[in-house]
Symmetry: C2
Subunit: 399 residues, 2 copies
């Protein structure tokens, strides 16, 4: 059972980094984003005011993580091909960027006619951090933003990543099952979601054993909730509440996931509390049709935009365009949303190994919203479902 | 009972924005950070690939939130002095930055010899977003980064902010009390923390009533946990695990908080599971001394660095410098860490109304870590505790 990224996989990503840098004629990189740092090192951390930087000298094959003293006992599990160095503290008498500069220099990366790949020009940190950009900091090397290339590299998931996303879907499914079981009129949403999340998390920990542990700060092993999408508020796709009380006749939109080695899946369902009205049934069936249409369209070799195009046409043909609020879906993996997107403006060609959410929705202010979201893997000739919760009205009606 | 930022307070912040812009001779601003957008509008949202921008024409006194269609039914509760406009989707056929540009232009903000305040040059979004910088996007206006000024403005908390931070401390206290009660040898950390967090959250919701609702996506009403800082792993200040099993003799480092109107408090304690050993008692008493020293030093009019200086001297005098890992504390409020910092390198003068964590720690790899963290408010002549959980060894020993 694979519960975290293996060192072999990290080594393969290290080779990927070399290829990217070589293609772009770059000597190395300096990355600050926790996402890319995790991708290349497996190290997950609480991002604060203290910059953490990943340096790589491609030719010398030296990868080094620069961390504050606070993290120096935390990086001891890094694979052997990644070294770590620590600076005292931010802001400190000597700004951490001076330490980053010194390490870049010591790794032979700050020199004339050299160029370094970056993901942002300096640490972006949103916790009161201030500091110079990297281009201001370096004496000689130029910098080139390679964020888009890194995002492209991460689009096709490896077998290890797919395995962890699939494992995540199992526990998201359990959390959702419990959420549905505990949903009843008169209950406060938090009571239902916390109970379901707690029980699913404990089942997950006890089933997977001591090798399972949370990777990302702030996430939970398994969880399921409504996030306020209850009754007429289900029409607000990104509602954020905790205190809504369920009542007979409500449409409920859910979300469930779990985290395995930092990877997640996405499962969302529209449920009806009580016997569905004709109007509820009509829109419920329409979003199943919309989702089926999207699922049937996805295949390798076509642009992502095509999926959105076909789905948008359906909204227009059915006269429900006014209820459209967002594109069909997004890639996901370590991040809850990633490129590419099933969106008119995204011409990325769909490839086997990509993992997407598929979630066209209908949102009618004052009445209700309707949306299922499934996570699917693109295969050689179509898709494979990663999430597998029932999608039909009967299964999602709570009597 | 104040459970969210009032419109009056938002209006005061609007006036603050005008003063900042006037002092810097700027025509207005364009902000992308969810933190600053929340500060000026009270609107909290799930940040994704879709940019959200807050525009302000100071002279005309027009504040406008630019959102994707997905959020257009979600911004209806904005105070009357903030208008909203929506673009269809990201990336879309027409990139959202073109819409932002158009709105900036329509608000009369893109013109020769004008300058706009920004918090970052374009949307920073980490969810696969790509797009042009704002300076590339504008035809005429220059841009100037005012992030540091905004952070400064947010340093002294308003009475409303302090009230919400204090309310947060009450429920963090309850979550911590339950965490301590449920801690026992043989238990898995998640079992304890999820149960304590669930019960404290429910008590909070039922006590505060329907006016209480979560503001920030991904947070919980009230929570308390160990985050893996159990036994020898308590020596890793930013550990992230969920599966550690408590055993007799363990040092436990905790963290508890709750969210009220987006605001939080910070409460952390070192507990001992069973009768403390002499060595545990020694270091426990040392961190209480360290914390007392910091608490006694804090007063308005002195630089933040002074607090760190006094505390660092104590580590050195006691011969425990090798166990130092981080500065004494940080400001907090809407963000879990904010400037200024109790750090040698931070010369910010302490002012009444600032809210800080005070948390010097001792970390001994392979043995244990020791740290209490309290949230305090700076008053006219010293400090007032916002968190109030007992700090002594007897109270924190679990028999």
């Amino acid at each position: 059972m694979l519960l975290q990224t293996s060192n072999k996989e990290l080594k393969r990503r290290n080779e990927k980094a070399k290829r990217i840098l070589s293609e772009k004629d770059l000597e190395g990189f300096c990355l600050f984003s926790p996402t890319y740092i995790f991708y290349f090192t497996g190290f997950s951390f609480i991002a604060t005011e203290r910059p953490i930087a990943l340096l790589f000298n491609s030719e010398k094959d030296v990868m080094e993580l620069v961390v504050p003293a606070l993290e120096k006992d935390h990086v001891e599990d890094l694979p052997s091909f990644i070294q770590a160095e620590s600076y005292p503290e931010y802001p400190g008498k000597n700004h951490p960027m001076n330490f980053v500069k010194k390490r870049i220099n010591d790794l032979g990366l700050d020199k004339k006619s050299a160029c370094l790949g970056i993901d942002s020009d300096g640490y972006a940190g949103g916790y009161g951090y201030k500091g110079p950009s990297l281009s201001e900091t370096l004496d000689h090397s130029e910098v080139e933003n390679i964020k888009e290339t890194l995002d492209k590299t991460m689009m096709v998931k490896s077998p290890e990543e797919i395995e962890m996303i699939k494992e995540s879907a199992r526990w998201g499914n359990l959390a959702h099952r419990l959420l549905q079981e505990y949903s009843a009129p008169g209950m406060i949403e938090t009571e239902i979601s916390e109970r379901a999340s707690f029980e699913a998390s404990m089942a997950m920990i006890k089933t997977l054993g001591e090798d399972y542990s949370l990777t990302k700060y702030g996430s939970r092993p398994a969880s399921a909730n409504f996030r306020g999408q209850i009754g007429s508020k289900s029409a607000i796709p990104h509602a954020i509440t905790t205190n809504a009380k369920l009542k007979e006749g409500d449409i409920l939109i859910t979300g469930a996931s779990s985290e395995v080695g930092g990877y997640i899946s996405e499962l969302e369902r529209t449920m009806v509390l009580g016997k569905p009205t004709a109007k509820q049934e009509k829109y419920f069936n329409l979003i199943v049709e919309l989702q089926d249409l999207a699922l049937d369209t996805i295949e390798p070799g076509i642009p992502c935009s095509k999926v959105d195009e076909v789905v948008r046409k359906f909204y227009k043909d059915k006269g429900i365009w006014e209820h459209w609020r967002h594109h069909v879906g997004h890639a996901l993996g370590y991040r809850m949303h990633e490129a590419p997107f099933f969106d008119l403006g995204d011409e990325t060609i769909i490839e086997p190994g990509m993992v997407f959410s598929v979630e066209p929705g209908i949102f009618i202010p004052g009445f209700a919203g309707f949306r299922h979201s499934d996570t699917v893997l693109v295969t050689e000739d179509g898709i494979e479902y990663i999430t597998y919760y029932p999608r039909d009205l009967e299964s999602l009606t709570i009597d």
